[in-house]
Amino acid sequence: MQLEQILYEKFSYKGFRLGQKEIIESVLAGHDTLAVLPTGSGKSLCYQLPGLIIEGITIIVSPLLSLMQDQVEQLKAKGIKQVVALNSFLTLAERKFVLKNLATYKFIYTSPEMLQNEHILTALRKLPIRLFVVDEAHCISQWGYDFRPDYLELGVIRQRLGNPQVLALTATARRQVREDIQASLQMTGTKEFLYPIDRKNIALQVERFDTQNEKSERLLELVRDLQGPGIIYFSSKKMADYYATLLGQNNYRVASYHSEIEQEQRILLQQQFLYGEIDLICATSAFGMGVNKEDIRYCLHYHPPVDLESYFQEIGRAGRDGKNSIAIMLYCPDDYYLQTQLIANELPDRGQIHYFARWKEEQQKQLRGNSSDVQMAEYPPGFTEIQFRLLEKFYQRINHVDQFISTTSTFVEKRLAWKQEKLQEITEWIHSTGCRRKKLLEYFEETQSEIAEPCCDSCGFDIRIFFQREDRVNNPESLNWKKRIYELFHV
């Protein structure tokens, strides 16, 4: 059967988008494949389609648990039902159910942490796994902006799963990172596919302010003027909540969206955004949205992210339908210190490393003791999940305490310095005077092939083309429960 035919029958798409077909053919020909595709270009199709054709099971490793869940439900809604997400979100009953039925799935989404679990790995080893997909593969590289130590073991895990063919996917990978990915996953005879990541339909603009107040005023002005739907990124949940409330009081249809919002509410908010029941999302930069909304017209950064990769990823949510969209970053000098703080908080500091080592020793002592029912907290207090996971990883690999402390400290120092460098790069970009697009593409080792129009604030454009064309209506109808039930049940 023709690939196009399967594409239409199973996914109801009329044609492939840039790169998809080449990548799929490479996978079907049995090559280890590394693909760099821009965000929002249909990366997941590159394994979903071949996964249906290949006999056997496809495993997809993804670092973002909430996104994984969304992808699974979207596949199911397309009628591809043999899909499951095997991750720490599952309740005990769910996990039992999934493990019992493991052999019935065609696609198994999972996290690197889950694959560390011997019990689960043993269950997976019994299955005919033919394709091993690593999504967001830049997480493997120490030089990837979002390095996750758990990703380092993936090469070994691949072997233990019977060395299935690899497909590594990422949206942003410079040469160094790509080399790391291949080495770490022990890929051989790799076919590399690199596609231009420039999003020509997104105009870039940076506005600088002296104080937070001016910035805040400008935000409200932009929200008033710009044609939605839009996303506003903040660096903290608190700020996202604050502005969502403020804008809501000003009659905008808005919601805040971040990791503290419960899953059930998140599903509703995604749905509302998709159906156009709300037009504005106040989000934290750390939190992705698992919904494929094509018509997002603008993306505002109230706080800049900590590196250009994150920035590029985040603005990539705008304009997936190919229509003109705009990304505006609001910057004020305070932000730099806030970002420095964010970077520092991500990693454990010296005190935490020492404390962790002591905590571990204490834990082991208790385990050796006769008391089998000692209850230890799963986490020591005062650590974030990411800090804890990183420490745990290093601790597992290094048995000697002093060595653990010195190795970890060295790693953290190096990582901090490197992150600081990344921050420097984005800060320089913010303050640069030439064409922003050119600079950004240079950073990603890409040369601009076509001129974008409108391009960026340095090249100049009239922001008014992004202003409101329709009058905003927000007259919520009065609540009437019977009417609502009649609507729901088409009476």
């Binding site: 869940q69 439900e73 979207q74 809604a77 397309k78 009628g79 499951v84 979100f89 599952l90 309740t91 009953a93 769910e94 159910f97 999934v98 809501g248 919601a255 899953q263 059930e264 509410q265 599903i267 509703l268 908010l269 749905q271 509302q272 159906y275 029941e277 919520p476 609540l479 009437n480 429960w481 019977k482 609502r484 039930i485 609507e487 729901l488 049940f489 088409h490 009476v491």
Partner: protein, 356 residues
């Protein structure tokens, strides 16, 4: 403000005889023998499990605020209400009436499951009634998805794809009419539901629309769920679809496993001492079990353990000292042991009426 009102109410009732931790356990519905006992002895049933997701941090913050405003005083982890606090409580308590249908104890295990099934089912049937079968489910729990799928499959023997949504919406409307009569607004519930091209509102969104505090809104919402479960149980014939949907949720309130074993042995006619020997447990542990059984089961007679006359003496002592402190009660009835006092307190929640 709602949380403040709750804290003031509980602190007032506890008469500085229980710690603030006990208040936290009560509000979040901790299923321990101690909390269940406190709930019954102090007549605080309607506060049990009233905010299940209250974080300790928010609780502590609220306590601090109350202390700073001199509405309560805290000494050795035990809080006491001030006259200012009592005044404020009087002023605000009206706006936070706890609906009669709310029962945080009885429905603790089942309310979440009921909502998960119901919301997924409504979403499914709503799509059906528009001739659609594919959508992103509002409930992600695979077990819930399986349960709903199985239920629909069973129903499909009797109803076709057109009839099932019709019948179901009919029952739903009838149930909600009862709810409305009980003076709860069905809107609070209905706008949470999602269906074809209509997303439900989040609790925060609907609370904002109705100008309610989110925490208080949640209580009203849960009260509607409780009411629906209760109505279904009491009128099985009127609500056949809801009855079958909730059949496995209508379990009697259960004891802890160990207490249940003790209960079975008691039913076989074994004595307390025999059970302790047979199970190789301390006598005091079996006594704890019996107290739990009495709390959970109003019909269970305490006569075999406390004579009628001693019961009366203990009740009158409680009324005189107006306290639930065992030691104080024992001072007035020296011949009673602690077990007897606990049994009487647990078997007579009505004593609480005097206590008010």
């Amino acid at each position: 403000m709602f949380l403040k009102a709750l804290l003031l109410a509980c602190i007032d009732r506890f008469h500085a005889e229980r710690t603030v931790q006990a208040v936290y356990y009560l509000l979040t519905g901790k299923k321990s023998a101690q909390t269940i006992q406190d709930t019954a002895w102090y007549g605080l049933q309607k506060y049990f499990n009233i905010i299940p997701d209250l974080s300790k941090r928010d609780f502590d913050q609220c306590l601090n605020a109350l202390t700073e405003q001199r509405l309560i005083t805290i000494d050795k982890q035990t809080a006491q209400i001030t006259s200012r606090g009592r005044q404020l409580y009087k002023d605000i308590t009206k706006q936070y009436a706890i609906p009669a249908g709310f029962n945080g104890f009885k429905y603790q295990q089942v309310e979440v499951r009921f909502w998960q099934r119901l919301s997924l089912l409504v979403q499914t049937l709503s799509h059906w009634s528009y001739g659609k079968t594919r959508f992103i489910p509002v409930q992600r729990d695979l077990v819930v998805q399986q349960e709903v799928k199985r239920w629909i499959y069973q129903m499909s023997e009797r109803y076709d794809k057109k009839l099932l949504p019709e019948r179901f919406s009919h029952e739903l409307i009838q149930l909600l009419e009862h709810v409305e009569k009980a003076e709860l607004q069905p809107e609070l519930f209905v706008y949470r539901l999602s269906g074809y091209e209509r997303s439900g509102l989040t609790p925060r969104q609907i609370a904002e629309r109705l100008k309610l505090e989110e925490q208080y809104y949640q209580l009203l919402f849960r009260s509607i769920l409780h009411q629906m479960i209760a109505l279904t149980a009491n009128h099985r014939d009127d609500f056949p679809l809801f009855t079958s949907l909730t059949r496995d949720l209508q379990k009697p309130v259960v004891l802890t496993r160990s207490s249940y074993i003790t209960y079975q042995l008691l039913q076989q006619g074994k004595t307390l001492a025999e059970i302790a020997r047979e199970r190789q447990l301390k006598k005091s542990t079996i006594e704890d079990h019996i107290v739990e059984i009495v709390l959970m089961n109003p019909e269970f007679s305490i006569q075999p353990y406390v004579s009628k006359s001693l019961q009366e003496k203990i009740i009158s002592a409680v009324n005189r000292c107006k306290s639930r402190k065992l030691r104080r009660i024992k001072e007035l009835v020296p011949e009673a042991d602690y077990f007897s006092i606990r049994l009487v307190l647990s078997a007579w929640p009505k004593i609480v009426e005097y206590y008010r």
